[in-house]
């Protein structure tokens, strides 16, 4: 006796092979989510007590990174400027801009400003600024075009696969130390060569390998060892 209508055939076949595609789609979705700004915060502008504009201070006024991030060359921590640093100028200019009231308040009361952290790594990752800066990794290699950010945001995903891009092939990213804090630095090309150690380089490959030698970079094995970043 006939139990099912004709249509069941199509349905049942679909139901048998359909789940495979659904599962695949889900997996793909998860993978995307993991890398999305929702998880990584990449490109997210977080709210801050004071809408500080790096664009204005760096491009507009030409202040060097190290004026505020003083310990970037000696410490693992680049350093967030104390209120004092802000007041160096803002006790003279914009002295009563309402936007800057939190800063003045902090200076008056001795209560620290509480910024929201932009570039944050998990606690089990031990990143050190001084070594990267010393070996010719430019600020904007990781932090992006900070000089064009009216509001600061995190450029990269800061996920392990991202770190490995460079740790596996540093020569593709390195630049001369004196260029590290140059926000407009570009890798050498025939049209814009880069001078280093008296030699002029027209392509990153040759410059990179020269820098690797000069800055005594450790081998890929060394800098992809787990304890390089995890303790």
């Amino acid at each position: 006796m006939q139990i099912f209508p004709r249509s069941t055939n199509a349905i049942s076949r679909a139901s048998l092979f359909g789940p495979v595609f659904v599962a695949a789609a889900l997996f793909w979705g998860m993978a995307q989510l993991q890398r999305s700004p929702y998880i990584t915060y990449a490109g997210v502008r977080k709210s801050q007590p004071v809408p500080f504009s790096h664009q204005h201070h760096v491009t507009g006024l030409g202040i060097d990174c190290r004026y505020c991030h003083t310990s970037v060359e000696q410490s693992s921590f680049a350093g967030i400027p104390p209120t004092k640093t802000c007041m160096n100028c803002h006790s003279q200019i914009w002295t009563n801009a309402p936007m800057l009231e939190p800063v003045r308040a902090s200076y008056r009361t001795g209560e620290s400003l509480q910024w929201t952290r932009i570039n944050q790594l998990p606690d089990f990752v031990y990143f050190n600024h001084s070594i990267h800066v010393t070996k010719g990794v430019g600020c904007n290699d990781c932090h992006g075009p900070v000089d064009q950010m009216p509001l600061m945001y995190q450029e990269a995903s800061l996920q392990m696969e991202w770190c490995l891009n460079c740790h596996r092939a540093p020569q593709e990213f390195l630049r001369p130390r004196e260029q590290v804090f140059n926000m407009r630095y570009q890798q050498p090309t025939a049209s814009l060569p880069v001078k280093f150690d008296g030699t002029t380089y027209t392509d990153q490959d040759s410059l990179g390998s020269a820098l690797v030698k000069k800055y005594q970079l450790r081998t890929e094995k060394d800098i992809t060892s787990c304890s390089t970043c995890h303790r």
């Binding site: 099912f4 993991q34 392990m160």
Partner: protein, 459 residues
């Protein structure tokens, strides 16, 4: 597949695999009626209920484990593995009989397996399911266990393929998948039978959907048979590999008492040993309750008993060789281990396991024992206990006293260890109860092939 020669033999001397006087129809009705028409007995409800409650206890124990961590168990340093892994190996071992019966005996054209392979396979599935729980929950952070699978991840870091645990993950999941497929395609023709027998509309529809519209066409049968045979061919090396891999968990490590080349064969033998014990412990009550003595005859009991006797001796040989090499090898750690087994703090368990696995099973030499269901049932129980003890001795005893005397320790199971162990037994029984209630526990179409009428004389 039908094997008339065997049947002729059967007809002549040996106890038959199926009592005479059956037709295609009567076989079909007898088996399908258990599922379709037989009313749900009180016994079933009670049994199922009990099993279900114990399963709930398992869930409770696991919930607490997730909340507090593996510290609720008796494990420590040096004994990092306790009941969890013991149970894991025990269950996996039990599973093996199912595949052996359905695949290996099929290849060996042992047609008597036709009446027990179905629920033996079901047993395999449920046992492997129980086993599968442990490797997951015994980790310190089970919610990260997915890191053992090589999926593309943001860490750009992969599993470590030299680890036997990883081999386990692949072996066990493969084993489960293949067993499931094997069991299911075995069911298809019978599901069709149930579809055509069922009076209840919903039963008819659900069996119908599962049967996938099977209609017994000659073309289908031809492809079906070759697929079935191929699966058997694949499952056979698989089942051997699975317990080999499980044994690698130990053989690959350097712990004295683990680091042994004899493990793979004797683990596989042990697995089949305990597996058949479990088959008997299920078959004997089932055939009694459902009056299937005509299908699961004394011949089946005898054969299973013989298999146990044989594998039991392989296991015994394993123990013997272990002890011998321990003594003769002159390795100070192995010698200490041997002494420790015979006289150490866990010596009692070791002697008990020898009694359960070697001495008592010798009763099977007697035909009386082999044909007496009650005795068989009890001996099987003893063997299951013995095989559990064997794993306990291998894992816990070896770890408790390894290289540095300063780090020797003892392991005492906590109530949570016991709850988890018994919990899985409850889960296993629950599944078994459901199975016998809703699916044909004996392969109807393969039983048909055992009848003389099934033969076709070539012209």
């Amino acid at each position: 597949m039908p094997d008339h020669l065997d049947n002729v033999e059967v007809a002549n001397q040996r106890a038959p695999v199926i009592e005479p006087g059956y037709t295609f129809g009567t076989i079909t009705d007898k088996i399908s009626s258990i599922v379709l028409t037989r009313p749900t007995s009180l016994g079933w409800v009670v049994g199922f209920g009990a099993g279900f409650l114990v399963t709930m206890m398992l869930l409770f124990a696991l919930g607490y484990l997730f909340i507090k961590g593996t510290g609720i168990w008796g494990i420590n340093i040096p004994i990092g593995w306790g009941f969890a892994i013991v149970n894991f190996v025990w269950w996996i071992g039990i599973g093996h009989a199912g595949t052996l019966i359905s695949a290996i005996l099929l290849l060996l054209r042992q047609s008597w397996r036709n009446s027990i392979n179905r629920f033996a396979e079901a047993m395999t599935l449920f046992a492997v399911a129980c086993a599968g729980i442990f490797p997951l929950v015994h980790t310190g952070r089970p919610w990260l266990a997915y890191w053992m699978f090589p999926y593309p991840n943001t860490m750009n870091y992969w599993p470590q393929f030299r680890s036997p645990l990883l081999w386990d993950v692949f072996a066990v999941s493969t084993y489960f998948t293949i067993s499931l497929l094997f069991w299911f395609i075995g069911l298809i023709p019978d599901l069709a039978t149930l579809r055509d027998r069922a009076d209840n509309k919903y039963a008819r529809m659900s069996y119908g959907l599962l049967a996938m519209g099977w209609r017994g066409s000659a073309r289908h049968w031809a492809r079906y048979e070759s697929a079935y045979l191929l699966l058997a061919g694949l499952a056979t090396p698989l089942v051997l590999s699975v317990h080999t891999v499980v044994s690698f968990d130990f053989a690959v490590a350097i712990v004295p008492g683990w680091h042994t080349t004899i493990f793979p064969p004797y683990f596989v033998a042990g697995a089949i040993y305990s597996g058949f014990a479990m088959v008997l412990m299920l078959a004997i009550p089932i055939r009694k309750i459902y009056g299937l003595e005509d299908f699961i005859t004394d011949r089946h009991l005898q054969n299973s008993a013989k298999v146990m006797l044989a594998t039991g001796w392989i296991v015994a040989y394993g123990y013997g060789i272990e002890a011998f090499t321990g003594w003769y090898g002159g390795n100070r750690y192995d010698q200490a281990l041997l002494w420790n087994r015979l006289h150490g703090p866990y010596a009692g368990l070791y002697w008990m396991l020898l009694i359960c696995n070697i001495f008592i099973p010798q009763l099977l030499w007697f035909r009386k024992m082999r044909t007496n269901p009650v005795w068989l049932f009890m001996i099987s129980g003893v063997i299951l206990v013995g095989m559990w003890l064997e794993r306990f001795v291998i894992i816990v005893l070896s770890l408790s006293r390894d290289f540095l005397t300063s780090s020797w320790g003892m392991y005492y199971p906590t109530r949570w260890d016991w709850m988890t162990y018994f919990g899985t037994i409850g889960m296993f029984l629950t599944a078994m109860f459901l199975f016998v209630r809703i699916l044909p526990m004996i392969s109807i179409f393969e039983m048909r092939t055992l009848l003389p009428e099934a033969e076709v004389k070539p012209e």
